[in-house]
Amino acid sequence: MEAGKNQSLFKGKPIKILLAKPGIDGHDRGILVLAKAFRDAGMEVIYVGLLPTPEEVVDTAVNEDVDAIALSLLNGAHMTVFKKVADLMKSRGVNDIAVIGGGTIPEADKPKLEKMGISGNYGPGTPISTIIEHITSRAAEMRKLKAMEE
């Protein structure tokens, strides 16, 4: 795992992440590469593949109790579809799962997505290590929120 300082948060329980392309978009080269890279970084990757609805994404994330959801779209529909995922999370009171975006996202959309709670928003060509670092730090935040009293 990249971030050594978060070791104890992930001890005995690797980061669990859901990967999805929730829009009408079949471009899965990037997300398949990420799925393998995350696995090789020791994460548990739930891949729900192409065309899940935002409901299916949130439903799965909650059932699987993941640390993060990684969404990818290259069809320009991120402002509508990512927002649907964020809205659903909010309406179900889910505040301890990080939502991370990626795809062809114009610079101008990034602050708007951040405001919805969707971070990262990486474009093609981003080094995988950068993405893994970001996921690790977001997952660490989530783990702190989830920590139960002993």
Binding site: R39, I46, V48, E56, T60, E64, M148
Partner: protein, 315 residues
């Protein structure tokens, strides 16, 4: 909001609150059994024993996922509360895992509000057996009528499913040819029901006859495992399958012999795990002591003597 206090979480499970259930599973699926994990299981134990636990096993690519999607949707349509647990293998090299078996059932699960959880088989580090048993207990206590446990043919996990499920569906299909012959010997004792998938394809009927014949020849007890053919595209045969699952469920609940065996196995697994985890610190300390390893390399000792000295030092 998700409860952050253990007693609230436990109340949540019993009430069937989905997020409490999913969080509780995260707690019990830790590699090492924690205080919280034990507490959860202790508190909910009295609420378990109601659900019918159905294991589904069979070679990869035979259509188990689609079958579970169909089966759980149809059970849900007749008013049963269904939960699904799927066990997947990890990469032996990195410890990470890629769980992709939801793809073929996700749509149907969401539409029917069915809870499904994937458990990663985290390789040799242990903890899987106990995680599966505890996960099933949580789902049982949360009010599931039927819990379907799927495995992808990953060694230990297969064995666990056979041990903890009351009814085991062995899924086979056409075109396995020699493979069927090779595994037949081993699997015939395992299955309480045999399902032949892809009945629309040539060879399925032959496969069905083949299994029936083998079953007829093997010595059996009271229960004669039926062979059910299904077509997952048209859902043909599924009603029969559900009937047979129910029939076997009733048979098992009546048989105290089978129950006794199951509880004994459970106790055995728990003791194993408890011993391992209680002395985890000591074992890890021993294993990371390079001097100990070197003495093995240099043949100054042997593995048994080294292990004995560790255990003697603990006891």
């Amino acid at each position: 909001m998700i409860p952050l206090r253990l007693d609230e979480l436990i109340q949540g499970i019993i009430k069937g609150d989905r997020r409490s259930v999913s969080r509780a599973i995260s707690i019990v699926e830790n590699e090492q059994v924690s205080f919280n994990a034990k507490k959860i299981v202790k508190e909910i134990y009295q609420y378990t024993g109601r659900a019918h636990i159905v294991g589904i096993t069979g070679p990869p690519g035979i259509g188990k996922s689609t079958m579970i999607g169909n089966l759980s949707a149809m059970l849900s349509d007749i008013g049963r509360k269904v939960s699904v647990v799927a066990i997947d293998a990890s990469s032996p090299f990195t410890g990470g895992s890629l769980l992709g078996n939801r793809i073929r059932m996700q749509e149907s699960l969401t539409r029917h509000g069915i809870f499904m959880r994937s458990l990663a088989n985290r390789g040799l580090k242990g903890g899987l057996s106990r995680s599966i048993w505890d996960t099933v207990k949580i789902l049982d206590a949360s009010g599931s009528d039927i819990i379907i446990v799927e495995t992808v043919g990953a060694g230990q996990a297969d064995l666990d499913v056979v041990n903890l499920a009351e009814t085991v569906l062995m899924v086979l299909g056409p075109g396995l040819g020699d493979e069927i012959q090779a595994i037949k010997a081993g699997i015939m004792e395992i299955g309480s029901l045999f399902v032949i998938n892809k009945m629309d394809l040539p060879g399925a009927f032959i496969a069905q006859k083949d299994i029936e014949e083998t079953l007829a020849m093997s010595p059996r007890g009271e229960w004669k495992p039926p062979v059910v053919g299904v077509n997952s595209l048209t859902r043909e045969g599924y009603e029969d399958l559900i009937k047979e699952i129910d029939r076997h469920g009733k048979f098992v609940k009546k048989s105290s012999d089978l129950s006794f065996r199951k509880f004994r196995t459970e106790l055995e697994i728990t003791i194993d795990e408890e011993l391992r985890s209680r002395f985890h610190q000591e074992i890890m300390g021993f294993l990371t002591d390079s001097e100990k390893i070197r003495s093995l390399m240099e043949k100054r000792t042997d593995p048994y003597s080294a292990a004995e000295s560790l255990i003697n030092s603990i006891a």
